[in-house]
């Protein structure tokens, strides 16, 4: 039997011809990532090992993005631990405020991850890079500490589940809607410990930004990684960016899958996930009428250029409803600059939106848009757990940027075509 793309990348990094689901293997890592919440814990553990340097200072990436620019004294202390570690070890890819971005928007943009890579990060959404055809997965801080010392980690080879998306995507249906729909179908543990492989004509036509969005939310179905087979679209994206050589892997025609799903996208509507789980998904038409207090457009799920363009398309010449706060958070400094160049900031400002420097901010209830008790928010983020964006008595609905923008205008959850 052949191998899946995930198995091939793992085998290549284990120095093996073949690996099989269920095997525990030791793999060489191309990159290890930490942020201002997880790295301080990893640094504490790293120092216990007793080594005096990281395995490769070019391959450890540290991004302060969750609580920076520092939201309070305690987070300032955490960010400082990471900054000082980066200086002490001469970490090449440490991104200071003003040069940083939300980590999973930043790494692909900077060419630090590419097709065929094996990346681990102490952040669950590290699985985002599967959108470029990499194997990437989230781990905890102690795993990051071990990886920073060894340059390798252990992994269990996951079984793969194949998703085939057929048909032409209707207007306003995006990668976010496909992945929400999928999680709605299989549930938040529907792919527990597994690799989700996203294929089919609809994905083959999708730009990289949409693919990154899909892979980003694989963890919301419990998956170890999400992956899109790399193609010409991927090549155009990585060429000129990639800081290291990359390799295109592809699944064999006779590769083994635990399950396969066929979805027809041509009848899909934009999707909305209701509180308090990403699996509570309904078509937007069934959410219409739910009033909101806040809308957030940003995050590692939907803080990229295509996302901001889509939101601007809805917001152009329109005003945010008087009962709503709209927050727009570009994913990186580059995205910020590009959005400004394209005139998107004019559109957002004219509409009455607040534009923030790149940060995770409200996505995890850190700062910059915390919800009060009883408040309701529509967000382009990836989690709507109890208390995720603030008070445990607040609510988060998940959607695409176009739906969030339309909802901001109408003051209630709405489809983009309802905005007249």
């Amino acid at each position: 039997m052949g191998m899946t793309i995930t198995e091939k990348i793992l085998a290549a990094h284990a120095g093996r011809e073949k690996v099989e689901p269920g095997e525990l293997i030791n793999v060489r890592i191309d990159l290890a990532l930490g942020n201002d919440i997880t790295a301080p814990v990893a640094i504490r553990e790293f120092e216990k090992i007793g080594v005096d340097r990281v395995f490769d200072r070019d391959r450890v990436v540290l991004v302060p993005d969750h609580f920076v620019p520092n939201k309070d004294i305690k987070s300032a202390q955490q960010a400082k631990i990471m900054r000082e570690f980066a200086r002490k070890h001469g970490i090449t890819h440490y991104f200071e405020v003003g040069r940083m971005g939300v980590e999973h928007c930043l790494l692909p943009e900077q060419g630090l991850v590419g097709p065929g890579d094996l990346v681990i990060g102490a952040d669950s959404h590290t699985c985002t890079y599967g959108g470029l055809g990499a194997f990437s997965t989230g781990v905890g801080s102690t795993d990051l500490a071990a990886a920073m010392a060894l340059g390798e980690t252990w992994l269990k080879v996951p079984e793969s589940v194949k998703f085939i998306y057929h048909g032409e995507m209707p207007e306003w249906v995006t990668g976010k809607d496909l992945i929400l729909y999928t999680i709605g179908k299989i549930g938040v543990d529907g792919a527990l410990y597994m690799a989700m492989e996203f294929t089919g004509p609809a994905v083959e036509r999708m730009p990289v930004d949409g693919r990154l969005t899909m892979a980003n939310m694989a963890v919301e179905a419990g998956a170890k990684n999400g992956i899109v087979p790399p193609d010409e679209i991927t090549r155009r994206y990585v060429e000129g960016r990639a800081k290291r050589p990359f390799t295109f892997f592809a699944s064999d025609p006779d590769a083994g899958y635990a399950r396969e799903y066929d979805f027809d996208v041509s009848k899909m509507e934009p999707a909305v996930a209701f509180p308090h789980l990403p699996e509570n998904v309904k078509p937007v038409s069934e959410a219409s009428g739910i009033t909101i207090d806040q809308a957030v457009i940003g995050s590692c799920t939907n803080g990229r250029m295509d996302d901001l363009r889509e939101a601007a398309r809805v917001l152009r010449g329109r005003k945010v409803n008087s009962n709503v706060r709209l927050l727009v958070i570009p994913g990186t400094q580059e995205i910020y600059r590009q959005a400004m160049r394209e005139g998107l900031f004019e559109i957002f400002l004219d509409a009455g939106a607040a534009i923030s420097t790149p940060t995770c901010g409200p996505c995890l209830g850190g700062y910059m848009g915390i919800l009060a008790e009883g408040e309701r928010c529509i967000a382009t983020t990836n989690r709507n757990f109890v208390g995720r964006m603030g008070h445990p008595g607040s609510e988060v609905y998940l959607s695409s940027p176009a739906v969030a923008a339309a909802s901001a205008v109408l003051g209630r959850i709405a489809a983009p075509w309802e905005v007249k």
Binding site: K74, A122, G138, G140, D189, G365, F385, V386, G387
Partner: protein
């Protein structure tokens, strides 16, 4: 080794945001984290939890974020172990890495009630419900994970290995 305590029962898909909300992640001090452990799921928990107590939950325990602060908070709160139907994968790894004993047992998760007295034989993976006089089996832990436990967590395991290889 035997772990023994009274149980706190929770449902399915207990996520890391309710185990330790992000608003408290501006510190990584285990004692500070413990004070807020599970407070969004059960406000009585942080003040009521006693050393040795056991958390029992349904499927997919620890889903969501990779924050190791979640198992750290549970351990620092004095919880001796977590029993669930299934665990989310990053939480599963993290728990072993930091030395929080966890047991997968759908049967135990279904049968054990809130406040039951439970004793767990760690090596044998046998869970005894003293209140109801029942016994359940936990899923076998892979041998590699047992090595990590035996070494006292991943960091000790790595340190030993690097010493052996002459890298420290």
């Amino acid at each position: 080794m035997e772990l023994r305590g009274r149980t706190w029962k929770f449902g399915n898909d207990v996520d890391t945001d309710v185990i330790i909300p992000a608003r408290y992640l501006n510190t990584s001090d285990p004692k500070e984290l413990a004070v807020h452990c599970m407070e969004d799921a059960d406000p009585r928990f942080p003040a009521g939890v006693k050393p040795g107590d056991i958390i029992v939950a349904g499927k997919n325990f620890g889903c969501g974020s990779s924050r190791e602060h979640a198992p750290i908070a549970i351990k620092a709160a004095g919880v001796s172990c977590v029993i669930a139907k299934t665990f989310a994968r990053i939480f599963y790894r993290n728990a072993f890495n930091i030395g929080l004993p966890i047991f997968e047992s759908p049967e135990a998760a279904d049968r054990i009630g809130e406040g039951d007295e439970v004793a767990v034989d760690v090596e044998a993976g046998v869970i005894r419900n003293i209140t109801r006089n029942e016994t359940y089996r936990a899923t076998q832990v892979p041998p590699f994970m047992q090595q990590i436990i035996a070494a006292g967590g991943l960091i000790n395991y790595v340190a030993e290995r690097m010493k052996r290889d002459g890298k420290v």
